[in-house]
């Protein structure tokens, strides 16, 4: 449990961090809260030559309102996200899902940006970011660019971030008036989700006008359950929701591990989607 040797730098600003990354080429890793990277180092599954510790860049921390959008600094800890009044008011799904991440010790150190940049499909927040249609602002040597969440998660543990880019901000359109629920299914409290379903539901006149469903751990990236979303449009009661949820696993390619087979995961996706939507829509 001892990591291989690495160099370490702790920039005090974004530009300095990006320079450090650019100088190191492919050999650097960004250290934020360390809740995913440090275990990989200690198990000797990652061998970066340089760790760029962005933990002391204060401008990357905090939540602000920007019109119809919340701008959340990438280094904002899970704990701060859960307790932030703006997040709770305008992005309740994010607050609710973040409260289920691991345990209090992890939530005090782990960060929203770190969790998204790690791009673990079993992590809770990537699927939530997808469901929220979040945008990710990244800084590189050539300046900043904005990547929609749907383009950000490329493959297992692989994001659209270039090696010399740093995730600096997560922009989340406000979902005031939407019902939400994150249905996490896991074996023990601190373990990863076997399957998780993030649901956002906008109701109109007794039926579902629009639903957005993010799926955790149903493939090599977080996924949107688009077939179910379409089927949910216009659903007017529990039975209609149940029928629509049958499409939740369409287009997914879940993996097999010690806790579940692909078949079981597909089954769970359907059951949990039904439950998440019913709860989110206040129809359960």
């Amino acid at each position: 449990m001892i990591p291989p040797a690495f160099d370490y730098t702790r920039p005090t600003g974004v530009d300095e961090a990006v320079r450090a990354l650019a100088d190191a080429g492919e050999e650097a890793k960004v250290l934020a809260g360390g809740q995913s990277l440090l275990p990989l180092l200690r198990l000797r599954l990652a061998f970066p030559e340089l760790l760029v510790d962005v933990g002391r860049i204060p401008q990357l921390r905090g939540v602000r309102e920007d019109g119809d959008t919340l701008a959340i600094g990438a280094l904002t800890t899970h704990h701060d996200v859960v307790h932030d009044p703006l997040v709770r008011r305008h992005a309740g799904l994010l607050a609710a899902a973040t409260a289920t991440v691991a345990d209090p010790a992890v939530r005090h150190r782990g960060t929203l940006g770190g969790s998204l940049a790690h791009a673990d499909p079993a992590g809770d927040l990537p699927a939530v970011a997808l469901a929220l249609d979040a945008e990710l602002v990244v800084a590189g040597p050539g300046g900043r660019r904005t990547i929609p969440a749907r383009d950000f998660f490329v493959d297992y543990l692989q994001s659209a971030l270039a090696p010399d880019e740093l995730l600096v901000e997560v922009r989340i359109p406000k979902t005031d008036g939407w019902g939400f629920h994150y249905e996490k299914f896991h074996a023990v409290a601190q373990s990863w989700a076997i399957v998780g379903v993030a649901a956002l539901v906008r109701r109109d006149d007794g039926h579902i006008a629009e639903a957005r469903i993010g799926l955790t751990n149903m493939g090599s990236t977080p996924l949107r359950a688009t077939a179910a979303e379409q089927a949910l449009s216009g659903a007017d009661g529990p039975q209609a929701v149940a029928r629509a949820a049958e499409a939740a696993a369409e287009g997914t390619r879940p993996s097999q591990d010690l806790s579940a087979s692909p078949e079981y995961r597909e089954h769970l996706a359907r059951v949990l989607t039904r439950r998440a939507v019913l709860t989110a829509g206040g129809m359960g």
Binding site: M1, A5, V188, I194, D257
Partner: protein, 826 residues
């Protein structure tokens, strides 16, 4: 003896005192082994086999020597001289196969994690880095994973020189012939249960520091061990260093659960390296290293058959075990299933009992003691089949037990297995548990929900357990071919200032002996609790002991403290009588004061007597100048705690998730020294027993790799996963020791596993499920429900679920991986 000796007021025994050791333990202020710093300390790291089974064709440690900070590196062959085979102290049969067990593999590795080479460096980072430079060539050999096919004639062998994978076969048959009993039985029921492998997970990993003292040829060994005294003897044997030149210290130790009841290769290696280099050496394992190299628990296939009448009277019991030894026999590996052999009949009366255990070598981490050690397995099988039998007969499972258990007026009772239970009251514990649980109301609710076809099913599980602990009468151990006795030592030093040192041979690693032994001594001696210090865990300061395991410490070691304290009072009485010019018979001893009957002003405190003994100015003729006392207690019998555990689960049949809705246990552990500590032991025990039922499993793939190699995959539950336990006690004093106490350290673990699985099966039985293999994970439960549905109600769906424990059948080669879907059903 007790009643006169124990202070009439007895303010301490029975008092829920906070533990005096806790402040330093829970704030991390203590000197854990890994915290120990010695001038010139070197750090050891161990290179381990990545394969389950292979011939070592080449090891080259020289590249490691070129790495910065490296002092030395050794392959197995380099250390073989002066490093003997690791010991097995329990050769259970005359013809047991005892393979060689080198602390570092020399020619062959036999499980993933088997040590192959070591690096010694100036710091632990340099040591860890240098491991990667060592070159090893392996010639792969077939892994041996399936317990049943391992016994076939053409099976690949774990130890090719032995010609067989069969370690031993240990039979026991008592009472009538089982076959004849079966023939007159109206009902017989056979079941196969699986005890998955478990990983003990003590909070503190293993660690050892060896400090050579060149001038005297002595070595001080600090080790995170449960057994400093046994370890000293065994390390002397393994390394050839004379026993009197070895001092073993178990400082504060952060848990063991049996995993530190062991003589580990790393302890011997550290000693050998320190001897070779003449330098102090430290080794500390990481958690994932410990998963490979610290012994595992359980790992058995249990074939069990009961014969009974239609009315539900048990006639006989037959048990056939296959027990996974793992790759080598460690300290008490072969004896673990044998500790269970006597417990299958449990609290029940019957006419015939037949038991056979076959130990089998596999290419997995060795097994050995894990909390309960043999008794949880036995209790699981009998309590599971009692519930199954109740279902078969259409009887309430509690009623079936009532019809068969030993009634309280029948104690002492000699069971079919030959144990004499000294005391117990199963009726009282059960009645109280049923009332606390609201049994009848829950049954009514269950019925209603079943009728309604609720997707969330309610299940109720029963476990009326007993166990044998307080290890152990030495003559019984002799008969079981165990290599040592079961006594325990204690001595009491009365210091000149009136303070007291209690020296114990038990070796606490979280149990709270310092608090409990202080309570006992304070009561007997009539001194303040805070005036007592408990000395333990150092072979120099507490030279005699048999250490801590098997829920023995209070019933044997606490009893020894009690007797030693009584001896002190007896010695002090002579001095007091002399000083008070009275006869001993005329003295009363109350609250630490000797007073002459009828003249209460004529008095001497025990502290004053201690000072008189120190000055020796005025002692009676022929009395030596000391009131210190020591004693060694060899118990007359085992200790038999018992209790009734009731579990209610709710199972979401859509997802397969089991939630414990309520858990009630009423334990009878005899007289209680500290109720708060007993409560803590029960809670921790329940958590570990529930963990086996629902969460934990050491899973191997078909190559013999440990797949559940970190806590991400080996699911240890936390408080968040467990219900609020409702605990209560009945107190039926033990008749076999003066204090009337019984062991409690393992009770919760032994009792709870079957209570939970019985509840799971009880919930699913109406759906056609007859069994769910442990751990009853959501996936397995879901699959069991689905398979039962497909097979039609009432079919023998088996419900073993998709994720198999990898001990038998095709899954043994595949572990849990790749055995899902259709193949996993049935």
């Amino acid at each position: 003896m007790t009643d006169q000796a124990v202070n009439a007021a007895a303010p301490e025994i029975g008092r829920a005192r906070l533990r005096k050791e806790d402040a330093r333990l829970i704030t991390g202020q203590t000197n854990w082994t890994d915290n120990i710093q010695v001038a010139g300390l070197l750090h050891l790291a161990v290179l381990r086999s990545p394969m389950a089974h292979a011939r070592i064709t080449r090891v080259d440690v020289s590249p490691a020597l070129e790495r910065p900070g490296v002092i030395a590196a050794f392959a197995g062959g380099d250390l073989a001289e002066g490093l003997g085979s690791l010991p097995c102290a329990w050769p259970v049969t005359e013809d047991i196969v005892l393979p060689d067990h080198p602390p570092i593999a020399v020619h062959e590795v036999r499980h993933a994690g088997d040590p192959v080479a070591v690096v010694v460096a100036r710091d632990r980072y340099a040591a860890a880095d240098a491991l990667e430079a060592i070159e090893v060539d392996y010639d792969p050999l077939p892994p041996v994973l399936d317990l049943e096919t391992a016994l076939a004639d053409d099976a690949p062998l774990v130890h090719s020189d032995k010609g067989t994978n069969r370690c031993y076969t240990w039979p026991l048959a008592t009472g009538e012939n089982f076959e004849s009993v079966r023939q007159r039985a109206e009902v017989t029921l056979r079941r196969r249960y699986h005890q998955q492998r478990l990983i003990p997970n003590a909070m503190e990993p293993r660690a050892v520091v060896v400090t050579p003292i060149a001038a005297s040829g002595e070595y001080t060994v600090h080790s995170a061990t449960q057994i400093p005294h046994i370890l000293r003897i065994m390390l002397a044997t393994v390394t050839g260093i004379p026993e009197h030149k070895l001092r073993v210290i178990a400082p504060d130790v952060g848990g063991g659960f049996g995993s530190k009841l062991q003589v580990y290769g790393e302890e011997a290696i550290a000693l050998a390296v320190a001897r070779k280099l003449g330098r102090p050496v430290k080794w500390t394992e990481s958690r994932s290293e410990g998963y490979l190299a610290t012994h595992h628990g359980r790992g058995m296939i249990q074939d069990i058959e009961v014969a009974a009448t239609r009315e539900g009277r048990l006639l006989g019991l037959k048990v056939d075990l296959i027990a996974d030894m793992g790759a080598y026999l460690m300290l008490v590996t072969p004896g673990i299933p044998i500790l269970g052999a006597f417990m299958y009949p449990a609290i029940y009366k019957m006419d015939a009992y037949e038991f056979t255990c076959t130990g089998v070598f596999t290419t997995r981490t060795p097994t050995d003691a894990y909390r309960g050690a043999g008794r949880p397995e036995a209790t699981f099988a009998i309590e599971r089949i009692m519930d199954d039998l109740a279902a078969e007969l259409g009887l309430d499972p509690v009623e079936l037990r009532r019809r068969n258990w030993i009634r309280h007026e029948e104690f002492p009772y000699t069971t079919i297995a030959g144990l004499t239970y000294d005391s117990g009251n199963y009726e009282a514990a059960t009645d109280r548990a049923l009332a606390l649980f609201g049994y009848d109301e829950l049954r009514a609710e269950q019925h209603e929900r079943n009728e309604r076809g609720d997707t969330v099913r309610l299940g109720i599980g029963v476990s009326t357990f007993t166990e044998m602990c307080g290890l152990a009468p030495s003559r019984v151990l002799r008969d079981l071919r165990y290599g040592a006795g079961g006594w325990e030592a204690a001595s009491i030093r009365m210091l000149p200032t009136g303070k007291v040192e209690v020296v114990t041979g038990t070796s606490p690693h979280g149990q709270g002996h310092e608090t409990c032994w202080s309570q006992i001594a304070a009561d007997v001696l009539g001194v303040p609790f805070d005036d007592v210090e408990v000395v333990h865990g150092d072979t120099r300061s507490s030279p005699q002991g048999m250490d801590t395991y098997g829920s023995r410490s209070l019933a044997v070691g606490g009893e020894a403290v009690h007797r030693a304290a009584v001896k002190v009072v007896d010695k002090a009485r002579k001095v007091a009588a002399h000083l008070l010019e009275a006869s001993e018979q005329d003295l009363e001893f109350t609250d630490g004061v000797f007073a002459v009957k009828g003249s209460p002003e004529a008095r001497r405190t025990i502290q004053e007597i201690a000072f008189e003994a120190f000055t020796s100015h005025d002692l009676p003729d022929g009395v030596e100048p000391s009131i210190n006392a020591e004693t060694v207690v060899d118990p007359e019998n085992f200790s038999y705690p018992h209790g009734t555990h009731l579990c209610a689960v709710e199972i979401d049949t859509e997802t397969g998730k089991t939630k414990i809705r309520s858990y009630v246990c009423v334990d009878d552990v005899g007289h209680v020294v500290n109720p708060m500590i007993v409560e803590g032991q029960v809670h921790g025990g329940l958590a570990q027993g529930i963990a086996q039922a629902l969460y934990e499993e050491a899973v191997y793939d078909d190559e013999g790799n440990l797949v559940s190699g970190t806590m991400a995959d080996y699911l240890v539950p936390s408080a968040a996963d467990l219900p609020d336990f409702v605990t209560d006690r009945t107190e039926t004093p033990a008749a076999s020791n003066a204090m009337g106490v019984k062991g409690v350290g393992e009770a919760g673990t032994i009792a709870s596993t079957p209570a939970v699985v019985n509840a799971v099966v009880d919930a699913l039985r109406p759906l056609g499920v007859t069994d769910v293999r442990m751990p009853c994970s959501p996936h397995r439960v879901w699959q069991a429900v689905r398979d039962a549905g497909r097979a039609g109600a009432g079919a023998e769906a088996g419900g073993t679920g998709p994720a198999r424990s990898g001990q038998s059948g095709p899954a043994a080669r595949s572990g849990d991986l790749g055995q899902y879907g259709e193949e996993g059903s049935g």
